[in-house]
């Protein structure tokens, strides 16, 4: 098209990519090919699709949200280093220096916990003292915590195979593991919006939710020794788990962000911290976008869950308590979006609703396992 315009017309994502972006994608592809060359005989068609699908997915994520490229490199580098340190012997987790103090899955998760708590403190300092530098530190701490969390999961994945070749599984299968996943997914989603809205003030609220989850992980670790790797029950031995669980936690992450911002919105509405927080319109938009992304992923996760259920339990919908509560959570946020989009509702009611929505979500996530019985009983405390 002739260029009669005195400004650069917006270009689609693919045309805006630099050679660094392509290099990053090539690295991902190389990694996937390496894994395929070594382990193809253990994979079925679905797992191969998940493997190469993840190349596309993470390439896109890195292109869309550039810092993810560095994060991915960090995760790969540290995880490979840790795996090298193991030399195929699980006992080295307690002997090799780097494993014992930094990179064995348990140490990495402890580092993640510490970093998240420090990040929370730094965000609050930045918010209350209007300290810009503290804010930058908080962001850096959060990124480091996300890195260590992912490394912890990756190394745990490897450790599970060292426990026994038939034991190995992707570490998203029990409460301990999914809580780690929840922390890092929520933090990563927050970091995206932090950049997008160019505001660090909301980190204080979001990181409180993450810290609560970290508190749970610590209690679960020290009181219940939940870090022990237990082999999977037959019902969980399915490639569906690899897609169903992470998708679900992106949903939960989105709903948690919305609730945290909802609290900030309500406080600002009462004049608390109002001068330190972003404008109400920004908070409102933040809340909407989090719920929107959460809702999309929660919908997909529920559908994936139904498809898995069809394969494992013989019916795509059994009105199992977990399924039913997922439906209730879905209806809740569907109503939230409906009122906002169709009826144009704005204001504190939606903020309250987002906060209450998180309580509902928490019940669907934890309460159902604790108080009701059903087919999801492997998530029990």
């Amino acid at each position: 098209m002739e260029t009669t315009l005195p400004f650069a017309a917006p270009q689609p994502l693919l045309k805006r990519l630099t050679w660094v972006d392509w290099g990053y994608a090539m690295l991902l592809l190389a990694g996937a090919l390496f894994a395929y060359a070594r382990f193809a005989e253990y994979m079925n068609l679905y797992e191969e699709s998940v493997l190469f699908g993840s190349v596309v997915g993470f390439s896109w994520l890195g292109w869309y949200f550039k810092p993810v490229r560095v994060l991915m490199l960090g995760i790969a580098g540290l995880s490979l280093f840790a795996i090298g340190q193991y030399q195929g012997d699980l006992a080295r987790a307690e002997q090799a220096f780097f494993l014992q103090y930094l990179l064995s899955s348990q140490s990495a998760v402890m580092w993640m916990s510490v970093l998240f708590i420090l990040a929370t403190a730094a965000y609050w300092l930045a918010l209350l003292a209007r300290a810009e530098f503290a804010g930058k530190v908080a962001t850096a701490l959060t990124w480091s915590a996300v890195l260590m969390g992912f490394v912890g999961l990756m190394v745990r994945w490897y450790e599970s195979y060292l426990t026994g070749p038939d034991v190995g599984y992707i570490p998203v299968s029990n409460l301990y593991e999914v809580f780690i996943l929840f922390c890092i997914v929520t933090a990563l989603m927050y970091l995206y919006y932090e950049r997008r809205y160019a505001t660090r003030q909301l980190g204080a609220f979001v990181m409180l939710v993450v810290s609560a989850a970290v508190g749970f992980i610590l209690w679960y670790t020290f009181d219940r020794q939940a870090y022990h790797i237990q082999p999977l029950v037959p019902a969980l031995q399915s490639w569906w788990m690899k897609v169903h669980v992470p998708t679900n936690f992106i949903g939960y992450g989105g709903f948690s962000l919305a609730a945290a911002v909802g609290v900030a919105y309500l406080l600002a509405g009462r004049g608390l911290l109002a001068s330190r927080l972003p404008a109400r319109e920004v908070l409102d938009d933040f809340m909407y976008k989090s719920i929107a992304i959460g809702f999309v992923f929660f919908t997909i996760a529920t559908i994936l869950g139904a498809m898995w259920a069809a394969e494992a339990w013989g019916s795509y919908w059994s009105w199992d308590p977990k399924e039913t509560w997922a439906l209730i959570v879905w209806l809740n946020y569907a109503a939230w979006l409906h009122l906002r989009l169709v009826k144009g509702l704005r204001g504190p009611l939606l903020a309250w609703w987002a906060v209450v929505g998180l309580l509902l979500t928490t019940f669907a996530f934890l309460g159902v396992n604790m108080f009701l019985s059903g087919l999801h009983s492997y998530g029990q405390l």
Partner: protein, 664 residues
């Protein structure tokens, strides 16, 4: 929404039909239905669904049980009213789609090129420019501008040489509405197809009914059988190894239906594999499908997460149970002093009658488990382990009252010592209470039972007392003192054999003044302990075994034995069953489903996701650019279906870009 959706109006809006239509297609109605549905769903998760009716009676009492049954609360999701609400929801959503689709589609296509200048000037988001040049290129440049930002437009020539560019982008947002609501209808229809509406109708007309008697599949009468032609079902089939079946059971309310299958399933083998730690790793059934349409039987292995599809019916590994294992049992009498067991051979699911007349007992063998993974140790690092086979049985008296027992075959290690463990409970709602019988140094129950036989045999008591007196009374004691001692030992052991420590305590209470009871109890317990040691020596002599070592282990054994014997009075059974040998036979439980609505549900799910994406991530925006060459003016107006900060930013950016473009 900024642009209201036009409603299709009926000719006579006051008629009943019109009002009904108005109500059914309104969002209020849909929301009300969804709310009721939500609450009903919550009830269904709090109240355990599809339990045996007897459990509900116990839980709620007769009155509430009846009421809840009437409301269909034991199977909320298949109750008539729940299905009716779903049906209304489908109807309401369909009407809503029907009502709004024409308007939506019109909006989707329309460019609104007829907007007047006056109306454009009333827009909140507008700007006016005076062009730097008067060349005819202005309109051309504006068109480039719109294309570059992804807008599609329509050009309209107006009177006086004015040109209106009416543009839009993201119009498919409106499709999102149609897709999501259409998806809900499609999913619900799929779900209803796979529900049991056809049966409900047949039951309503009295053609079919739920069978509540305990019958074999082939004996079930025709009106409780569903034919092979049944469109959708979800049924269970349990087969012992080596058995076959061509009919499955559908559990319903307090009974069941029989679903006939177009083929026969034969179970060849059922396997449980275990991890090194003892937890189950896989449940697998080797089956043979005998289908008249197949020249040869089809061989397959069904695993959890790996179902078999045959003839449109999906067969899943659902559970497993005992298939009638062979049992060899030692029956130890607990209240007659024989000290030797009877050997009984039976099978799981068979009954054995013991005793006669008033005291007749029916032993119902219910389950045998080959593996039991338990975490017996406490504290950190406690790992679950396999503790070996167990047997579950009920002991029912002549009144029909039953106690349930759970016996482990091998001794369990508890607190560092080995015990034969038997759990007992009087109702299903209770937890088991456990009787611990200490194992002897040979890891058998023999010492305990022999000791029990001696201690509980009144004829043996004088001998025990005599032996104890030999050892404990000083040689200088007078015969009267010695006789009194023996007398009290006999009395004490007699009391213990009649009611354990409880009875001993009663004896103390009667004979000793309150102030001295504590000291007396200590002495009495010591005497019972010492007497038990003598009894143990005697019991081993009688069996031709060497005397026990008088060490700490034996002391512990005696201590545990006496506690256990005292507990026998609460055990509720006059015998102890010890599993001696078994022949394991398993049964595999399959679930068979035919769900033609599944694909509809999946298709609806795809529509739903597409619709949600369109609704949330497409933003419908419109731009009008009115070019007035005569006045060298351009009027810019913009609107969006939803106001958002993104839209404000976009408008600000365009306004600025247009200024550069037009005013230079």
């Amino acid at each position: 929404m900024a642009t209201p959706v036009r409603l299709t109006t009926l000719k006579n809006p006051t008629s009943f039909a019109a009002k009904l239509y108005e109500l059914l297609s309104s969002m209020r109605f849909a929301i009300a239905l969804l709310t009721v549905l939500g609450i009903a769903s919550i009830i269904g998760t709090v109240l355990k669904q599809n339990e045996p009716y007897a459990n509900y009676v116990v839980q709620f009492g007769q009155f509430w049980f009846g009421l809840f049954e009437g409301l269909g609360l034991y199977d909320v999701y298949h109750s008539a009213w729940f299905l009716l609400i779903l049906l209304f929801l489908v109807l309401s959503t369909s009407l809503c789609i029907y009502r709004n689709t024409p308007g939506m589609l019109r909006e989707l296509r329309a460019y609104r090129e007829h907007a007047t200048e006056t109306s454009l000037r009333s827009f909140a988001h507008r700007a006016e420019y005076v062009c730097a040049d008067e060349s005819a290129g202005v309109a051309r440049r504006l068109q480039d501008f719109l294309v570059a930002h992804g807008f599609r437009y329509k050009v309209e020539q107006r009177a006086g040489g004015d040109v209106l560019l009416a543009a839009k982008a993201g119009s498919y947002q409106r499709l999102g509405y149609l897709l999501t609501h259409g998806a809900i209808v499609v999913i619900c229809i799929g779900g209803l197809l796979d529900g049991n509406v056809p049966f409900k109708l047949q039951e309503g007309f009295g053609v079919k009914r739920v069978e509540t008697r305990d019958l074999a599949a082939e004996e079930v009468p025709q009106d409780s059988r569903l034919s092979v032609a049944n469109l959708s079902f979800r049924a269970n089939l349990t087969l012992p190894e080596g058995a076959q079946g061509d009919a499955a059971f559908i559990r319903m309310r307090d009974g069941y239906l029989v679903q006939e299958l177009p083929f026969t399933v034969r179970l060849k083998d059922f396997r449980i594999e275990h991890y090194a730690t003892g937890q189950p790793k896989s449940f697998e059934s080797d089956v043979e499908i005998l289908d008249p349409d197949l020249p040869q039987p089809r061989q397959a292995t069904i695993r959890v997460n790996h179902p078999l599809v045959h003839d449109g019916i999906v067969i899943y590994q659902s559970d497993f149970q005992d298939g009638g294992s062979l049992l060899e049992l030692d029956v130890w009498p607990l209240f007659s002093g024989e000290g030797a067991p009877d050997r009984v051979r039976t099978r799981v699911f068979e009954d054995v009658i013991a005793g006669e007349g008033e005291n007749v007992l029916r032993i119902e063998f219910e389950d045998f488990r080959f593996f039991n993974i338990l975490t017996l140790d406490e504290g950190p690092g406690a790992q679950p382990r396999n503790v070996g086979p167990s047997l579950t049985f009920k002991v029912r008296d002549s009144q029909g009252q039953a106690r349930e027992y759970l016996n482990y075959m091998q001794p369990l290690n508890l607190d560092g010592r080995a015990y034969f463990v038997s759990g007992m409970r009087e109702t299903l709602q209770e937890d088991y209470r456990y009787l611990r019988i200490p194992a002897d140094p040979e890891n058998s129950i023999g010492d305990y039972m022999r000791l029990h036989a001696v201690l509980f045999d009144a004829a043996q008591l004088p001998e025990i007392a005599r032996r104890l007196a030999d050892k404990t009374t000083p040689e200088t004691a007078t015969p009267e003192v010695r006789a009194r001692f023996e007398q009290s030992v006999r009395q004490l052991l007699g009391a213990f054999a009649k009611g354990g420590y409880v009875r001993v305590a009663e004896v103390i209470e009667q004979a000793v003044p309150e102030a001295e009871r504590e000291r007396a109890a200590e002495v009495y317990l010591k005497v019972v302990g010492n007497a038990a040691f003598e009894a143990l020596i005697m019991s081993r002599e009688r069996a031709g075994l060497p005397p026990p070592q008088p060490d700490g282990d034996t002391l512990e054994f005696l201590h545990d034995s006496l506690n256990s014997m005292s507990d026998l009075f609460f055990y509720g059974s006059p015998f102890f069953l010890q599993l001696a040998d078994f022949g394991h036979r398993q049964a595999s439980g399959f679930q068979l489903t035919r769900a033609p609505g599944k694909n509809l549900v999946y298709a609806g799910s795809v529509l739903l996701v597409m619709g949600i994406f369109a609704m949330l991530y497409l933003r419908e925006r419109r731009i009008w650019l009115l070019v007035k060459p005569a006045a060298r003016q351009v009027l810019f107006a913009m609107s969006a279906s939803r106001k958002s900060p993104d839209f404000e930013n976009e408008f600000a950016r365009y306004r600025q870009q247009l200024q550069v473009l037009l005013e230079g």
